[in-house]
Amino acid sequence: MPSDKNSATDESTGLPRIRRWNTVYLIVLSLCVAWVGLLTWLTLFYA
């Protein structure tokens, strides 16, 4: 594993138009909340 002491905490995400990791985490979390919402809707719709 190459040493990446300098990049351990401030490495960029490398994703287009997303510079901060916190933004990545927020997007991922939003997607998961959307999934839980969809499954809740599925449960209620077919109840």
Binding site: M1, P2, S3, D4, K5, S7, A8, T9, D10, E11, S12, T13, G14, R20, W21, N22, V24, Y25, V28, L29, L31, C32, W35, V36, L39, T40, L42, T43, F45, Y46, A47
Partner: protein, 589 residues
Amino acid sequence: MGRAPDLVDALLRVNALDYLVLVGVLAAIALYGMWRTRGQGDLRTYLHGAGNTHWLTIGLSVMATQASAVTFLSTPGQGYENGLGFVQNYFGAPLALIVIAAVFLPIYRRLNVYTAYEYLGKRFDAKTRLLGAGLFLIQRGLGAGITIYAPAIVLSTVMGWRLDVTIVCSGLLVIAYTVSGGSAAVNLTQKYQIGVIFVGMIAAFFVLLAKLPVGLRLSDAMAIAGGFHKLNAVDFSLSPDRRYTIWTGVLGGMFLALSYFGTDQSQVQRYLSGSSLRESRLGLMFNAVFKIPMQFFILLLGALVFVFYQFERPPVFFNTTVWQRQVDHGSGEKLHALQADFDAAQREKQQQVTAWVAARKVGNGAAAERASVAALAAHTKSEAARNETKAVLHAADPRNTANDSDYVFITFILHYLPHGLIGLLVAAFFAATFSSKSGELNALASTTVVDLYRHIIRREENDAHYVIASKWFTALWGLFAIGFALFANLAENLIQATNIVGSIFYGVVLGLFLVAFFLKWIGGTAVFWAALLAQVTVFVMYASLDISYLWYNVIGCAACMLFAVSIQAMLGRNHSTIPPNMPSEVDQS
């Protein structure tokens, strides 16, 4: 006495093409992995790979290590039997993966550790490192046995293979390429194995849709599944004895995932092989995004198999080998009578379901409602016959009825998929076993060499010596897992057994790491005794309480942290807790 008719029937369903696909796919992946990763010279390359792993490879590798054959064999059975509720188990996983990517991962990479337990040694002391490594070796060693036993028992039963030969052959193949190529071979083979699994599962899904009755749309199939309560994915009940609710899933599931992905070396080793922090983080985020949809898809497959069997004749008991054996051993009259009751109820249900779909299509709500009520009543009768069959089989031998749902999906595959695809699906189940087991063996060997052998027994040897030792320990752990699998006698549903073993140990291990990361004033002695006390507490509670096993992740973790705080308070303030330059928490970018 010859083979049971159903078993002979099953054997005839697998032809030379299936065996060609099965053996060809598995051997090709293993041999390619060995060839591409030959000559791994130094210890770091052998245990962590060349350090150039792309995020997608890491993501697939993390996914493949977690998703064993149990996931793809047993989970559709859960969907068939109990609906989508099991998906809640994974609701906490994305949150846990985010915490690991933001907090755990930068610390591991900054310290350049081989194993997660090496961090405990640097943060606390040698005995705490050994405790963390020991708990991992116990539970993961047992888990590796289950990983190989679980699919072998199901596949050997339905395919008519000898269980011991299935376990030994599959175990030796995975040992061969894991010993040969180390972590790089694990990463490489996992990528192709998960590809085979996805292709196989998606193909099975489309064949299933094609096999539904002509004119039955997916929306109709969903309505039927919903009518039989198979689409109840989310349960908001606060009852502590419910195994899967949104609360156990979010809270217990988060602690389970935090511990498994964050502190279990079989996972830590996978994402530490990334070429940079970015690649490792993206690999984890890949899993955070796809974990819930993947489990949903597999469970939905099971629910749709249930719908499919409303128009076909399902067996009253899917493990027909056990059913037939009991018929031959004196319970034949009773079991045949129950089969007749079940068939009659199924015929009645089929009529009502057909009427229900027809009424839905013409928009006759009242007729649809009447038909659905009648179909549910017929379902109650068929379930009564199925449950009584289970009771008869259970009375004859308690092991008979424990995991019939594990046989649902493989029965569907053998009876309804075309040749070639049957071989591909069976190959996919073995590929899933291999991918999990290789990751586990790689991690068990790393921990044994780095945290025990190199740390205590042989401290001053060269790299070549430790590489050879790693290969030996990989082989020994593989043989241990094979031995455990040969003598295993599991009673629970397979996937639950795996999770239960994990949950009993994971909470305490997670507590150790959370204390290390966040409670800076606590030292090694306090956390060591706290972890031991917490583990005993979990054992006692597991033996005496009847609560969802997911809660033990929370309880073990909380007990470890609380005991650590209390013991440290009794010992007095620790002045030598965190060594200089030792990160506990890390800034997030």
